[in-house]
């Protein structure tokens, strides 16, 4: 993490700035009104900003999302294809999952939640229709079919 400098601007607000890994200086002025300015400093005159981008609170949120804040991945992760009463979902097996390293049989997922694992995505490979002896690994993504409630219980079991 680069070091962020804070400067108070009396009557205006606060400015934060830092130097990027490539040596460019970037800053943000936070106005009291909630407006923000995104600043890029020049190399020739380090005291002046080359560009200032004026952002309303809404603009700021949009820009933050585009820069890869939480929202984007959340939206992708919750994409579900629904048939009537049946849903298909991708569920991760996180590193700390109680079932990482155990077989599908031992998980007793279908008995407990009514959910079937129809495929497992491991790295670039996809294993279609894994058998009961298939061993789940941390980092796997299971493709599961079941009721929406069942799927959320399944995700809870896996610790996703």
């Amino acid at each position: 993490m680069p070091q962020v400098t804070e400067t108070h601007l009396p009557g205006v607000g606060v400015r934060h700035d830092f130097t990027t890994a490539r040596g460019e200086r970037v800053g943000v002025v936070f106005h009291r009104s909630g407006r923000r300015e995104l600043l890029l400093y020049g190399r020739e005159d380090p005291d002046a900003c080359l560009t200032a981008l004026h952002l309303s609170p809404d603009d700021t949120r949009t820009l933050a999302e585009l820069l890869g804040a939480t929202q984007v991945s959340e939206v992708l992760a919750t994409v579900q294809q629904r048939l009537e009463g049946v849903a298909l979902d991708w569920v991760n097996v996180p590193a700390g999952s109680p079932f990482a390293g155990s077989t599908i049989r031992r998980g007793q997922f279908r008995t407990q939640t009514g959910v079937s694992i129809v495929a497992v995505i491991r790295g670039d490979a996809t294993v279609p229709a894994p058998g009961p002896d298939f061993e789940l690994q941390p980092g796997d993504v299971t493709v599961a079919v079941g009721t929406p409630e069942g799927l959320s219980e399944f995700a809870d079991l896996l610790g996703a």
Binding site: H8, P10, G11, V12, V29, E37, D47, A48, A52
Partner: protein, 390 residues
């Protein structure tokens, strides 16, 4: 209702027509100023000259009305100035900005004061002229910095800290001047100065300590209630301060300082349109009373003063920016933008209206503000070109 208005007769009708025409004229000027990226204050002053005595389109609206509206404008100008800074910012300013603040006072007050002495004015007039030259215009500077996208620049905190220091200094300077102008003998003056400084100290302490209570009390109401209570409190405190010979302006300033937290920003946004309206009236009325002839008479001293104090302000900004480790171009930008004098200088000059040299002071201040506010804006736009090419 109709006959009530009819009873007021043609007077009201004529006054409305004249005031309406003047307001539209000011609106056109404000738009022009906006397009050229400079403050509207010089234009308002010129408009006042045009419609004033001896101008080319003299008004005959009762000057009592405009004068009262102008006085309210001063109170609202000072109120918004007080609202601009939080008490934390003021305390921090006091901790870090004393050295540039003192240099600022010494370098810019002195030439103005000396000019007053050379012109053969009484001490009060000379002291006021010192003040006129001392205070940069936070209104003009805030507008220029944001128009030119300089809020993020490294020299900007140096500029803003100087403005905070000047505002704080005004809290002491204004009541002293008000007392001096009211006092008769030296002993009397010393007494009133003592009283008024004590009053300011008490109000300032109360404001910084218990301002929180007032803020949270005001914060509960609707926007309408907030606007009315703010307006009421400002006039009330201003009036009481005037009674104590502390000057109404400083009372309004302290009300602004006392407010903090979320209500501070809300109050600022609410009062701003009202301030713009009344302040425009104030600037108009200020030069309304100046005969164009007297402005011509002070042209040479105004030019000289603007040149000298332009140089000293440049040096002040240069020093303040250098202290923050800012390079040549940044120092030039800081120095040039600070040259702008504006609303505060006009307020100070209007304080001295009743003084022996009030007439001359008024004309000189108007000319001086006209020159500095416009040249500073132009100079700072091209500040980098002032530096020798590398």
């Amino acid at each position: 209702m109709t006959f009530l208005f009819a009873a007021a007769g043609g007077d009201a009708a004529l006054a409305f027509i004249e005031l309406g025409a003047v307001a539209i004229g000011l609106a056109v000027l404000a738009r022009l100023a906006g397009r050229w990226g400079i403050t509207a204050i010089p234009f308002y002053l010129l408009a006042g000259l045009a419609v004033g005595e001896g101008g080319f389109a003299p008004l005959d609206v009762s000057s009592d009305f405009i004068s009262l509206a102008g006085d309210i404008g001063v109170l609202l100008l000072l109120l918004t100035l007080g609202l601009e800074y939080t008490s934390d910012e003021l305390r921090q300013g006091l901790r870090t900005g004393v050295a540039p603040g003192l240099l600022d006072a010494a370098a810019n007050f002195t030439p103005g004061f000396l000019a007053g002495v050379v012109l053969g004015w009484e001490v009060e007039g000379a002291l006021l002229l010192g003040g006129v030259c001392w205070v940069s215009s936070s209104g003009v500077i805030a507008k220029v910095l944001s128009d030119l996208d300089r809020l993020g620049n490294r020299e900007t905190p140096a500029i803003l800290n100087l403005l905070v220091m000047e505002d704080l200094a005004m809290a002491a300077y204004l009541p002293v001047m008000a007392a001096l102008l009211a006092g008769t003998g030296v002993a009397d003056a010393a007494l009133t100065v003592g009283i008024s400084l004590a009053a300011v100290a008490v109000i300032l302490t109360l404001a910084l300590r218990w301002g929180q209570g007032l803020s949270s009390l005001l914060a509960r109401g609707s926007d309408e209630a907030l606007l009315l209570s703010l307006f009421g409190i400002t006039l009330l405190v201003g009036g009481l301060a005037e009674q104590l010979q502390v000057s109404a302006a400083i009372g309004a300033f302290l009300v602004g300082l006392a407010l903090s937290g979320p209500v501070q920003a809300r109050a600022g946004a609410l009062i701003e349109p009202l301030r713009d309206l009344f302040a425009a009236t104030f600037f108009l009325f200020f030069s309304f009373q100046i005969r164009p002839g007297s402005l011509v008479a002070v042209a040479v001293p105004a030019l000289l003063l603007a040149a000298v104090t332009g140089g000293t302000k440049l040096a002040t900004g240069w020093f303040a920016a250098r202290r923050m480790g800012v390079a040549l171009h940044g120092r030039l930008r800081a120095g040039t933008v600070l040259i702008a004098r504006g609303e505060f200088s006009i307020v100070l000059a209007s304080l001295g209206a009743a003084a022996a040299d009030g007439e001359e002071l008024r004309a000189l201040a108007a000319g001086y503000v006209l020159l500095t506010a416009t040249t500073a804006t132009l100079l700072t736009k091209h500040a980098e070109r002032l530096a020798p090419a590398r």
